[in-house]
Symmetry: C2
Subunit: 242 residues, 2 copies
DNA sequence: CGGGAATGGTCGGTTTCCCGACACTTGTCC
DNA sequence: GGACAAGTGTCGGGAAACCGACCATTCCCG
C-alpha cells in the first residue's frame, strides 16, 4: 500500500508528486508550485471505519484520497444517518471548512482502508491565494459540488423511492466510484438506504423487484447493474417502477 | 422603483455604484474595479412570474437582485415543482453557470416584481480573473451555498414533515428574505410545500396544528412565527410535533 | 475452523402522506 | 364593483413507507 517511506523525504516527495498530479485540481500547477505542495502534504493511512473528521470540528485540514473511499455523512440525534457523498481516489474532500474557516458541516469516515494526503490549512490557504489559477480551479470544483448537491435536493423532492433509487444507482455507476468493472457496485443496501433517505427494507424490496426483471443482480455486499437504460428511463420519468 | 434612468449614464452609474457596493461580494472591491463593474452592469426590471433564466440555457449572465425576490426552482416532467432557493435584495444568483460554463441547472423566475442588474459572462469572467480578491469572495460565496444545500439534503433525509417544515420556517425567518418585520413571512403554503417536498394539504394540516398551539399565526399569503423556540426545538430533535 | 459480526431477506401492523375533490375567502385587475 | 384568479381550509380513501421483529447467509478475524 504505502510505498513511500516517510523516513526518506526524497523518495516520499517523488511519489507524492506523481500522485498529486493525478488530482485534476492540482494537475495544471507549475512544477515549482506542485513541488511546494508536496512539501505540505503529509501521508497517512486510516483503517476502515475510522473517523477522519467530525462535524463541528474546526476545519484545519484538506484531504486528498490516494486509495480507498471516504464517506461524508451526518447523523441525527435519534441515530438516523445520512450519507451525503462518497469520495474516491483522485478526489479531495474537506475543502469547504478549509476555504471558509467555518466548522465542518459533516463527518468523514473511512469507508474502506484508506491512504490519504493531509494538508494543513495554515499552509494551504496562503498557497491558494498565491496561485490565481488554483483559486479558479477551486471555483470550478465548488461549482461541480453545488450542481451535484442541488440535484440531490431536486431528486429527493421530486421523485419517489423507485426514481430516487434508480438515480442513485445511475450516479454510482457513472462515477464508477465503487465500480469494480462491468457495473458491479461494492455497496451495501444499508448504505444505499442512507444515501436516498429510505429504510433498508424498502430498498431491499425494490431491488429484488428489479432483480426479478433482470435489471440488476444482487450479490453479497454488492449490486450489479444489468440494464442501465431501464434505470435511466425510470429515473428521468420519475414515476412508476414498482 | 427604478430611480436611475438608463438614458442618463452619469446618474445611472452613480446609483449602480451605491447599490453594487451593498452586495457583500463586491463591497471590498477597489473603487476603480467597482467603477468598471458598474459599466458592465445593465439595469432591468422583470414582472412577477416572468422567467429570468431557464434550465438548460447557456449561462451567459450573472444577476444581482436590487429589489424583489427571485425563485430558483426546477420541475419534473409530471408537473411537480421543487423550490431550491429564494434570492433577495443584496444577493446574486446565476453565478454557477457563469463560473463553470455549463448549462443552467435550474429555472429562475421573478417571485415578485424585481429590479435586477445583469452582467455579461464575457465581461465578468476576465474581470474575476483580474481580481484575486474577488475570486476568494466567490469561493466563500460558493462554500456558503454548498453548506446551505447540503443541509437541505440532510434535513430531507433525516427529518419527517414536522421537522422539515420547522426547519424551513426557521431558515426563512432567520434569513429574513421574506420577512416584513416581526416574523411575518410573505410566502404561500403552496410555495412552502415545494420547498420541503410535501403536498400543500399536508403543510396546511401541520401549520394549523401549530396555529392551534399558538406557535404560528396564519394569514392570507403569509405566516407569522410566534414561538420560534418551539420550532427550533422541534427542528433540532427531528422528531414528533404532530 | 469456529464464532461473531455484518449483510441480506422477510413479514404484518401501523402511521404517514398522497391524491382528488370541493367550498370558501381574499385579493386583484379591468 | 364585479368577475376571476389565487390562496386557504377540509375530507376520506388508498397507497406508500416505516417500524420492529425475526432468521438465514456470508464474511472476517482470531
Amino acid at each position: 500500500m504505502a510505498q513511500d517511506k516517510t523516513s526518506d523525504p526524497r523518495q516520499s516527495s517523488g511519489n507524492k508528486l506523481s500522485v498529486l498530479r493525478k488530482h485534476p485540481i492540482f494537475a495544471d500547477l507549475e512544477p515549482d508550485a506542485l513541488d511546494q505542495l508536496c512539501r505540505y502534504a503529509k501521508h497517512t493511512t486510516v483503517k476502515r471505519g475510522a473517523t477522519i473528521a467530525a462535524k463541528g470540528d474546526p476545519g484545519n485540514n484538506l484531504f486528498a484520497v490516494v486509495s480507498g473511499t471516504v464517506k461524508i455523512s451526518s447523523s441525527s440525534p435519534d441515530g438516523r444517518n445520512a450519507i451525503l457523498n462518497l469520495i474516491g481516489p483522485g478526489e479531495i474532500f474537506g475543502e469547504i471548512a478549509v476555504l471558509d474557516g467555518a466548522p465542518r458541516s459533516a463527518d468523514a469516515t473511512a469507508n474502506t482502508n484508506c491512504e490519504l494526503y493531509i494538508i494543513d490549512r495554515r499552509d494551504f490557504l496562503p498557497f491558494v491565494k498565491s496561485q490565481p489559477e488554483l483559486a479558479m480551479k477551486f471555483i470550478e470544483l465548488l461549482c461541480g459540488r453545488l450542481r451535484w448537491t442541488s440535484q440531490q435536493v431536486e431528486q429527493v423532492i421530486l421523485q419517489n423511492l423507485p426514481g430516487r433509487l434508480a438515480s442513485a444507482l445511475l450516479g454510482l455507476t457513472e462515477e464508477r466510484k465503487l465500480d469494480s468493472g462491468s457495473g458491479t457496485l461494492a455497496i451495501t443496501q444499508q448504505e444505499i438506504s442512507e444515501m436516498v433517505g429510505m429504510t433498508r427494507e424498502s430498498i431491499n424490496k425494490q431491488l429484488r423487484a428489479w432483480a426479478a426483471r433482470s435489471w440488476v443482480r444482487l450479490e453479497h455486499g454488492a449490486i450489479v447493474v444489468l440494464d442501465i437504460d431501464a434505470l435511466r428511463e425510470l429515473a428521468e420519468s420519475g414515476l412508476e417502477g414498482g
